[in-house]
Amino acid sequence: MKTIPAHQGKKHSRETAGEKVFNVADIVIMLIVCVIILIPMLNVVSVSMSDDKYVAAAQVSFWPRGLNFKAYETVLQSNKLLRSFLNTVFVTICSCVCSLTMTCLAAYPLAYGKFYGKRIYSLMILLTMWFSGGMIPTYMVINKLGLINSLASLIIVPLIMAYYVVVLRAFFASIPVSLIESARIDGAGEFQILWSVVIPLSKAALATTGLWTIVARWNEFLNPILYLKDYRKYTMQIVLRDIVLASSASQYDIDMESTALGEQVRNATIVVTMLPVLVVYPFLQKHFVKGVMLGAVKG
């Protein structure tokens, strides 16, 4: 099926001069928008691969000049930085698995349950969309749990997002109840129904919430700076902040001063931090976008 709207299909026959001008202008404007969006990212990539004499003179724009990968060699040599990278991967994967499991467990009873306490249970979850303890009280809780300076804090604090529960519940509720009922009649327990009926039918919604969780965890900065206290636990976002914004690369055993690679190293660290998300994104774009409309289905 073509998705071209009808009024545009018919237009081939007689397009007025004004419309032609508009259409060309529209294409050009969109092209400019794309260029503006891509330029800063291209510039960062180019500088990270350029020779110092061009970088120092601010002569690198959108392609590398004096192409070399010395900055990447410097960055990837640092064991401390690699460790942070692995920390981030670990937190992201664990968080995705744990959050999806818990969100399913939270949403399923809301969609299909008829049990005492359902209203108060639902209220308990939804209330957190409106009001929360905030930065310091949550810090106090993590402190009391003894999770300061532990990667587990980064997984536990955002374990269930009320909004994702609402999205999943709306999606679960769109599955025909007859399927659930007939499974119940066949004697299946609720866990079994969730696992073998509901989850296989909700792959799209689960992909979306899972991907959002992955991106959110990879990009998170506030929780890491609140809860992590030493560099062995740091995630990439903190490393990036330290190297680019605080210019303290030496704590990661990266020598920026004597190698004349300071600027390239900064840019290379940005590239290393943003690349995993940007490489994955184009292939999974439709899942990311689908979720926005899922959220529009008000629970």
């Binding site: 007025t16 259409n23 467990l105 049990f115 905030g134 949550t138 990311f288």
Partner: protein
């Protein structure tokens, strides 16, 4: 009509029948009680002069003193004005961008080109605040950044965008436009795709050009979406994420970059005054709750569809 209270035996039977459901909500409830509701309990320290080592028993109850100290303090006006102004500029300059973008994108005929533009324009949304601020620092650097390199070739002096307080709000809003315009347009794009295409044809027959079609068909078609999002945006007037203002902050621009969230962090985590910081946090979440609730009320009046 009042329902008859079920007998204890019926309740017990219902609970036993739903044991799987209770097993499911058990871990969820534990999580919410500990991470969210225990944390809300900790809001109580805003009424104490709380000392971490002494606990509640050893800390002095001070009533509203922490709130008073914040509201009458020197920084109160600055922090509130900074928060509101940053949101206000975002409202004025950022809010129309996704609408304009969606309207123009909607008129692109080639589906392939449309798809390409969408892919590119959504991309910056997935960058973290640290990455965006790092890119800003690198690209706007007065010595080696390409923006200043460009200014220099035009014969202008280089500008220290990130260090000068007067550029802070501009850079903040512009980078938000760069990062979020495409993504925020999704909801408008989908609203536009729901407009009856025969309306465009009718407008064409009446001799309406493209711009008039946009004005008279497209815009009215997404009117409700615009109003809803506008109200939501105003409801979030007091909210400001912590990350971007904090990361863009430096010694030279605190006069304009200190907002409620960064101030809370500074008082609590840097100075270690947990009680004072919790009071500031509680103050801002109460004010923002009032804003959001009024916005929700307003939107339910305007469109008879409540946001939540």
């Amino acid at each position: 009509m009042k329902r008859k209270r079920p007998s204890a035996a019926v309740i017990r039977k219902n609970i036993w029948k739903n044991r799987d459901m209770y097993l499911m909500i058990f871990p969820v409830t534990v999580y919410y009680l500990i991470i969210h509701y225990w944390a809300m309990g900790w809001l109580a320290i805003s009424f104490y002069d709380y000392k971490l080592l002494k606990g509640f028993a050893g800390s002095k109850f001070v009533g509203l003193q922490n709130f008073e100290k914040f509201v009458t303090g020197l920084n109160f006006g600055t922090v509130i004005v900074n928060t509101l102004l940053l949101n206000f500029y975002t409202l004025i300059f950022f809010f129309p961008m996704p609408i304009i973008f969606a309207l123009l994108l909607n008129e692109i005929k080639s589906t392939k080109y449309k798809k390409f533009v969408q892919t590119v324009s959504y991309m910056p949304h997935f960058l973290s605040a640290v990455v965006v601020v790092s890119i800003l620092n690198v690209v706007l650097s007065p010595s080696v950044g390409f923006v200043n390199g460009f200014l220099k070739t035009l014969g202008m002096d280089s500008v220290y965008f990130m260090g000068d307080a007067k550029y802070f709000r501009g850079v903040y809003v512009m980078s938000s436009i760069w990062q979020e315009t495409g993504w925020s347009a999704i909801i408008y794009i989908s609203a536009l795709s729901g407009i009856d295409q025969s309306l465009y044809e009718a407008a064409r027959i009446d001799g309406a050009g493209k711009l008039r079609q946009i004005w008279h068909v497209s815009l009215p078609g997404i009117r409700e979406t615009i109003i809803l999002l506008l109200i939501m945006r105003i409801g979030n007037m007091v909210n400001l994420t912590f990350e971007k203002p904090y990361l863009m902050q430096n010694a030279l621009n605190t006069s304009v970059s200190e907002v409620l969230s960064t101030y809370t962090y500074k008082i609590g985590m840097v100075r270690g005054n947990y009680s004072q910081a919790t009071a500031i946090g509680l103050f801002s979440s109460l004010v923002s709750l009032i804003f959001v609730l009024s916005a929700n009320y307003l939107s339910s009046k305007v469109t008879d569809t409540s946001l939540f």
